[in-house]
C-alpha cells in the first residue's frame, strides 16, 4: 500500500479490525455503566481500554498504545480494583434509581448530546488525511520526544509537579493521625458492657458437618440462621449460603432412618 493511499484511507484489515473491536469496545463501555458489581464494571472498562490501545496502535500511535496498556490498564485499573476491594460492597451498587426522573433526564441528555456530537463530526469537512509518514521519518518515539522536550517542555514539567502534588495529596487524604492510643482488650470489654449491646464475642459462623466456612450462617436452636454470625460484607453481597433447610432435611432423614431401624428391630422381635 502506498503512502498516499495509507494517508487517505485505511486498509481492509484495519476496517475489519475496527468494526469487530469497535463493537466489542462499545459493549464493554455499556457493561461498564450497566454492570451491577463494581468489579465487573472495572473489568469491562479494562477490556475497552485494551481495545482502545489496539486502536492507538492502528492509528500509528505506537508509544501511546503501549503506555495505554501499561499505565491505564495496568496501573490505573488495578488501582480501581484495589479500592473496590478496600471499600467493599455497599448499597450504592444497586442500580435502583433513587432520584426522581434522573435516569430519564440522563438518557435524554445523553442521546441529545451523542446526536449533536455525531452530527457535528458528520458536518465537519474532514477530507485531508496526511498520515504520519512524514513526522515519523526520524522515528516515532524520537518524534514524540522532540515535541515533549521542546515545544511542550513546560507542560511536561508542570505535569511532573502535578503528579508529585497528587501523590502527596493522596497520602494526606488517606493518612489518619492516631490521636489517642489504641484501646486495650480490657477497655473494649468494658465498653461492650457499658453499651450492653453485644456482651459476649460475636457468635461464630455456622459449623456443620459438611460446611465449616465463613459464609455459612450459624443456626439458632429453632433451626433459623443467625445474622450475627456472618461478615456483613458477605451479607451485603448476598454470598451467604443458607443451610438451615439442609440441616432440617438431614434431621428428618436421621429421624426417618432411626424410625426405620426401630421398626426393623421390632419386626425382628
Amino acid at each position: 500500500m502506498s503512502a498516499l493511499a495509507a494517508a487517505t484511507s485505511t486498509s481492509t484489515g484495519e476496517a475489519v479490525q475496527f468494526w469487530v473491536l469497535g463493537t466489542v469496545a462499545v459493549i464493554g463501555a455499556l457493561s461498564t455503566i450497566l454492570m451491577k458489581k463494581a468489579v465487573h464494571s472495572a473489568l469491562s472498562l479494562a477490556g475497552t481500554m485494551i481495545i482502545l490501545a489496539v486502536f492507538y496502535l492502528a492509528n500509528g500511535a505506537y508509544f501511546l498504545g503501549v503506555v495505554q496498556v501499561i499505565v491505564y490498564t495496568g496501573a490505573i485499573m488495578m488501582l480501581f480494583l484495589f479500592v473496590v476491594m478496600l471499600v467493599g460492597v455497599t448499597a450504592a451498587d444497586s442500580l435502583k434509581e433513587t432520584l426522581k426522573g434522573q435516569r430519564w433526564l440522563a438518557v435524554l441528555c445523553g442521546l441529545g448530546f451523542g446526536v449533536l456530537l455525531i452530527a457535528g463530526i458528520a458536518n465537519a469537512k474532514l477530507t485531508h488525511f496526511n498520515g504520519l509518514g512524514r513526522v515519523n521519518s526520524a522515528g516515532h518515539v524520537e518524534g514524540l520526544a522532540t515535541l515533549i522536550f521542546t515545544k511542550y517542555v513546560f507542560a511536561f514539567e508542570i505535569t511532573g509537579a502535578l503528579l508529585i502534588t497528587a501523590a502527596v495529596g493522596a497520602m494526606v487524604l488517606t493518612h489518619r493521625e492516631r490521636t489517642e492510643r489504641a484501646a486495650t482488650q480490657r477497655e473494649l470489654a468494658e465498653r461492650r458492657v457499658r453499651e450492653g449491646v453485644q456482651l459476649p464475642p460475636l457468635p461464630a459462623p455456622g459449623v456443620y458437618a459438611r460446611h465449616n466456612a465463613v459464609d455459612v450462617a450459624g443456626l439458632l436452636p429453632d433451626g433459623t440462621p443467625s445474622e450475627l454470625t456472618v461478615n456483613k460484607t458477605l451479607r451485603a453481597r448476598g454470598q451467604i449460603r443458607d443451610v438451615s433447610s439442609e440441616a432440617l432435611n438431614d434431621l428428618k432423614a436421621l429421624e426417618q432412618a432411626s424410625a426405620e431401624r426401630l421398626g426393623r428391630e421390632e419386626a425382628s422381635k
Binding site: 432520584l99 434522573q102 449533536l116
Partner: protein, 631 residues
Amino acid sequence: MENLIGLLIAAPLLGAVVLLLGGRRLDKAGHWLGTLFAAASFGIGVVLFADLLGRGAEDRTLYEKLYTWIPVEGFQADVAFQLDQLSMTFVLLITGVGTLIHIYSIGYMEHDERRRRFFGYLNLFLAAMLLLVLADNYLLLYVGWEGVGLASYLLIGFWQHKPSAATAAKKAFLVNRVGDMGLSIAIMLLFTTFGTFAFGPVFASVGNATEGKLTAIALMLLLAACGKSAQVPLQSWLGDAMEGPTPVSALIHAATMVTAGVYLIVRSAAVFNGAPDAQLVVTIVGAVTLIFGAIVGCAKDDIKKALAGSTMSQIGYMILAAGLGPVGYVFAIMHLVTHGFFKAGLFLGAGSVMHGMNDEVDMRKYGALRKFMPVTFVTFGLGYLAIIGFPGLSGFFSKDMIIEAAFAKGGTQGWILGGVALLGAGITAFYMTRVMLLTFFGEKRWQPDAAGHEPHPHESPKSMTIPMVILAFGSVFAGAFFEIGERFLKWLEPVTGYEHGNSPVSAMTVTASTMVVLVVGVGIAWSMYGRRPVPVVAPRGSLLTRAARRDLLQDDFNHVVLVRGGEHLTRSLVYVDHSLVDGAVNGTAAAVGGASGRLRKLQNGYARSYAVSMFGGTAILIAATLLMRAV
C-alpha cells in the same frame, strides 16, 4: 429715601423679636415698646408719603433691593421692595390703624397677663402685612402672605385656654391653607409662564401669555384672595375668628389682613385685565359674598359676629369692584381705606361695649347703653352712619362709586351686579341699624353673667376712647377728603389705571336709589327692633333667619361635602390600599416565595442532579453553536 422702606418693616419686626424673645423682664414695658415700634413705622410711612407727594405723579415708585434671596441661575428671587402709590396707601392704613389699635389694646388688654406676647404678635402682624404690600415680587409677597396668616392664627387663638378659640384658630388656618395653595399654584404658573416673580417684568410681558394661561393664573389668585379675604366659598373662618381679642378683630379681621385679597387682585391688575373670564368670576364671587355676608350679619345676635358678616359683605363690595377692571380698581381701594376706618372704629366700639359689659357679646342682653357710654355711642354711631352710606360720610362716597361702576359694567351683567350692590346697601342699612338699636337704644336687658356679677356699664379709659375718636374722624371725613377734587383717583391712577365707566343710569339716579334703599332698610329695622321691645331670648325665626344664624349652613355644607366626603375618600383609599396595593405587594411576595420554593427543589443537594444540569446545558450550548454556524 429708599432706605427707609426697609426700616418700615424692620421696626415692627424688631418689636416682635424683642417682645417675643425678651421674656418676663419686658412684661411691664412690653405694650409701650410695641406701640412705640408701630408708631415709629407709621412715622416712617408719613415721611415716605411726604416724599412721594413731593415727586411727580409718574415718579412715585421707589425700589429698594436688600439682597438676592435665592441666587440660582434661572430662578432669581430678591428681597426687594417696591413702594408706589398703592403700597403707600396700604402702608399708611396698616401702620396708622395699627398704631391706633396698639394704643387701644393698652387699655383693652390691661388685665391680661400675657399682654406682652399679644403686642409681640401684633407687631409681627404689622411686619408681615407690610412685607406683603411692599414686596416687589410674588415670592416675597407669599412670605408676607403666610406671615399674616401665622399672626392671624396666633391672635385668633390668643385665648387658647378657650377650646372655641383654639378651634377657631385652627379653622382659620386650615381654610386659609386652601387659599394659600391657590397662591402657590399661581406663583408657579407665573414662573413657568414668565420666568420671573418680579411684578415689573411680569406685568410688562403679560401680553406674551395666552389668555388661557392668564385666566388660570387669575383664578388661582382669586382662590388665594377668597381664602384671605373670607369670600365665598372660603368665608367660613371669619365668623369664628371673632373668638380672638377685639383689637385683633378690628385690625386683622376688619381693617387690614382680610383686605389682602383685594390688594392681591388690584396689584395683579395687569393679569386680570388680560383674563375677562376670570374678572367675571371675581365679580360673581364679590356679588355673592356681598349678599351672603349681609344676610349672615342680619341674623347674628353676637355683636362681633354681626360685624364680621358685615366685613365679609363690605369686602364683597371691594372684590366686586376689583373684578370690574380699571373702572373699579380705584374705588375698591378707596372703599378699602374708608372701610378700614369705620369698620375698625365699629369693632373698637364693640370692644368698648364688651369691656363695659363683662365681655358679654349677645346684643339681646345690651340695650340703652347710650346713656352709660356716651363716647362709645357717638363714635360707634358715626361709624354706623358711615357704613350705611349716610350722605356726606365716607361710606357714602366709596360705596356709591362701586354701585355706579357695577352698573357701568353694561348689559344684563351690569344690571344684575348693580342691582345686587344696591340691594346689599339696603341690607347693610338694615343690619347695622339693628346692631345700633339693640346695643344703644331700647330698654335695659342686662343680665348677670355666669359668675353672678351684675354688669356695671361704664365708659372705657382714655387709651381706648382716643383711638375710637380718631377713627370716627376718619369715618366721617375720609370719603369727602378723597372725593373732593378726585384726589384719591389722581393719586392711584398711575398704578392701577382708570377709565370712566359709562353707566346706563346717571350718577344722580344711583345716589337717589341708594338713598331710597337706605331709608327702606333703616325703616324696616326700626319697625322690627325700635318700636317694640326686644326679647332677650331670640325668637325661633324664619327658615332663612335660622339658616343665617348658622352662617347660611356654610359649616354644615363643609361638613357634609368636605368632611364626610373626605372621610369616605380616605376610607375607600384605605380599602384600595389594603386590598389592591397591599394585595399586589403581598401577591408578588407570595408568588416570588412560591416560585422560589419550587425552584429550591431543583437544589436537592445531589451532585448527580447538578451534573445532569451541566450536561444538559453543555448539550444546549453545542446545539446553539452548531445552529449559529449553520445559520
